[in-house]
C-alpha cells in the first residue's frame, strides 16, 4: 500500500508476471468450468429453476400438476407430497401406496395425487429423480419407474454425482425407450413442473416428506395403513 511500482513496470517486460498470473487464473477457470460441465450432468437440470408467473395462485396450481390415480370424483382426495430420496417416502411407497391403490383407489373411494416435494437442501438427487419419474410418465410408466426408484433408493441416492446412468438403466428395466427417456432426462423438461410442485407444497405448509393432505386437511400422527384407511373411509361418502 502506498508504494510505487518499480521502474521496470513501465517496460513491456514488466507486465510479464501480470500476464502469467492472468493466464494461470484463466487456465484454472476454464479447467474448472470444463470439469463442471462434464461432471454436472450435461444439459440435465438437477435443481429447481426460476419459473415466471407462479405468484399467481391459479397459475401455480395449473403448473404444479400432480400425478394422479383413481376417479377424480371419488369422495376422498389424498395429496401425497413426495421426495424420491427420502427413506420415509420409500416406506410409504412400499408399505402404504400399494394397499391404497388396491383397496381404495380401485374401489372408487380414493383419488390419489402425488406431488413432488424434493428436499433439495438435504437430498441432492431428489430433484432429478422427480424429473426422471415424470419423464417415465411420458411413456406411461410413471408408477413402474416410481417403484424401481424407491426399490433402488439405497443405490442411486448415495452416488456422488447425478445418477443419470442409473436412471437410464432403470428406464430400460421397466421397458422404456432408453433413448427417448435419456433425451428427456438430459434436458430441462419438467424442471418447471417440479419447481411449481415444490412451491405449491410450500404454500400449503409442507415442511417434510411424506406429507399427506386429505380433502384439504393435513393428516398428522396416523399410525400405519389401517389407521390411514380408517381416516379415508371416514370421509363423507367414502
Amino acid at each position: 500500500m502506498g508504494r510505487r511500482n518499480k521502474p521496470g513496470a513501465s517496460r513491456k517486460g514488466g507486465l510479464r508476471p501480470f500476464y502469467l498470473v492472468l493466464a494461470l487464473v484463466a487456465v484454472v477457470g476454464i479447467a474448472a468450468l470444463a470439469y463442471a460441465v462434464r461432471a454436472g450432468g450435461g444439459g440435465a437440470v438437477l435443481e429447481p429453476i426460476a419459473v415466471e408467473g407462479l405468484d399467481d395462485p391459479r397459475a401455480l396450481v395449473a403448473k404444479a400438476e400432480g400425478v394422479a390415480v383413481g376417479d377424480p370424483s371419488a369422495p376422498a382426495k389424498l395429496l401425497v407430497f413426495n421426495d424420491f430420496q427420502c427413506p420415509g417416502c420409500a416406506s410409504f411407497a412400499t408399505q402404504i401406496t400399494p394397499f391404497l391403490k388396491a383397496e381404495l383407489v380401485d374401489a372408487g373411494k380414493l383419488h390419489l395425487v402425488y406431488h413432488d416435494f424434493p428436499l433439495v437442501g438435504i437430498h441432492p438427487h431428489a430433484f432429478i429423480a422427480a424429473r426422471a419419474a415424470r419423464c417415465a410418465g411420458e411413456q406411461d410408466k410413471y408408477w413402474e419407474f416410481y417403484s424401481v426408484l424407491f426399490g433402488q433408493q439405497g443405490r442411486w441416492s448415495t452416488r456422488p454425482r447425478a445418477p443419470l446412468s442409473d436412471f437410464e438403466d432403470y428406464a430400460e428395466q421397466v421397458g422404456l425407450d432408453r433413448e427417448a427417456f435419456g433425451a428427456c432426462l438430459r434436458s430441462d423438461r419438467y424442471a418447471d413442473v417440479v419447481t411449481a410442485n415444490m412451491q405449491l407444497g410450500q404454500q400449503l405448509g409442507v415442511d417434510g416428506t411424506p406429507t399427506l393432505i386429505l380433502n384439504g386437511r393435513r393428516v398428522r400422527n396416523w399410525q400405519g395403513y389401517s389407521d390411514l384407511k380408517r381416516l379415508i373411509e371416514g370421509e363423507e361418502g367414502a
Binding site: G2, S10, A26, G29, L33, A36, G42, G43, P48, G121
Partner: protein, 160 residues
C-alpha cells in the same frame, strides 16, 4: 481508508507505468467472470449441479425470483460486468492508458455499481431469501475487493 492509501500506481507520470491496483482488478475480475459464468451455465442447464456444500443454499438462491434482474438472469449481469471490468483494467495497465481519465471513470463507475449490486444481492440472501449461496458470496467478496482497488481512480479522475 483513503484512495491515496490504496494507490499503488504513479499515474502522474503521464501514463508511463502500469498501476498495480489495476492489475489486481484485472485478476479479480477474471476470477469473478469464471464464477459468474459457472452460475450462468447452471442457469442455462449446461451445468446440472452447483457445488454448494451440504446446505444446498445455492439452488434456493438461484431458483428464487430474485435470480432475475430486469428480465436478465443475475449471473448474466455478472458475466457482462466482470467482462467489462476485465477489459477496462487490461486496457488500464497499458502504459499509454495508465493516466487516461476515461479508463479511470469506467473502472470506478463499474466497480461502484458492482459493489452496490452485490450489497443488494447479499442483503436479499440474508433478509428475504434466508439462504446463502457460497458462489454469490465469493462474487460479492470479489466485487468488494475490486471496489476498494478502484478507489485510487477517484484521484486520477480529479487530477484530470
Amino acid at each position: 481508508m483513503s484512495s491515496a492509501a490504496l494507490d499503488a500506481g504513479p499515474a502522474e507520470t503521464g501514463g508511463a507505468t502500469a498501476p498495480l491496483t489495476r492489475m489486481g482488478i484485472a485478476v479479480l475480475s477474471l476470477a469473478g467472470l469464471f464464477i459468474a459464468a459457472y452460475l450462468l451455465l447452471h442457469r442455462l442447464g449446461v451445468v446440472g449441479t452447483l457445488e454448494c456444500g451440504v446446505d444446498g443454499g445455492c439452488s434456493v438462491v438461484q431458483g428464487s425470483r430474485w435470480a432475475v434482474f430486469l428480465g436478465i438472469p443475475v449471473p448474466a449481469w455478472g458475466v457482462g460486468g466482470y467482462g467489462l471490468l476485465f477489459g477496462a483494467a487490461l486496457a488500464g495497465v497499458q502504459p499509454a492508458l495508465a493516466g487516461d481519465r476515461r479508463v479511470a471513470a469506467v473502472l470506478f463507475g463499474l466497480s461502484a455499481f458492482a459493489f452496490g449490486f452485490s450489497l443488494y444481492l447479499t442483503a436479499l440472501e440474508a433478509f428475504v431469501i434466508h439462504a446463502w449461496c457460497r458462489w454469490c458470496l465469493a462474487s460479492a467478496g470479489i466485487a468488494t475487493a475490486i471496489f476498494l482497488l478502484s478507489l485510487p481512480e477517484i484521484r486520477r479522475l480529479r487530477r484530470g
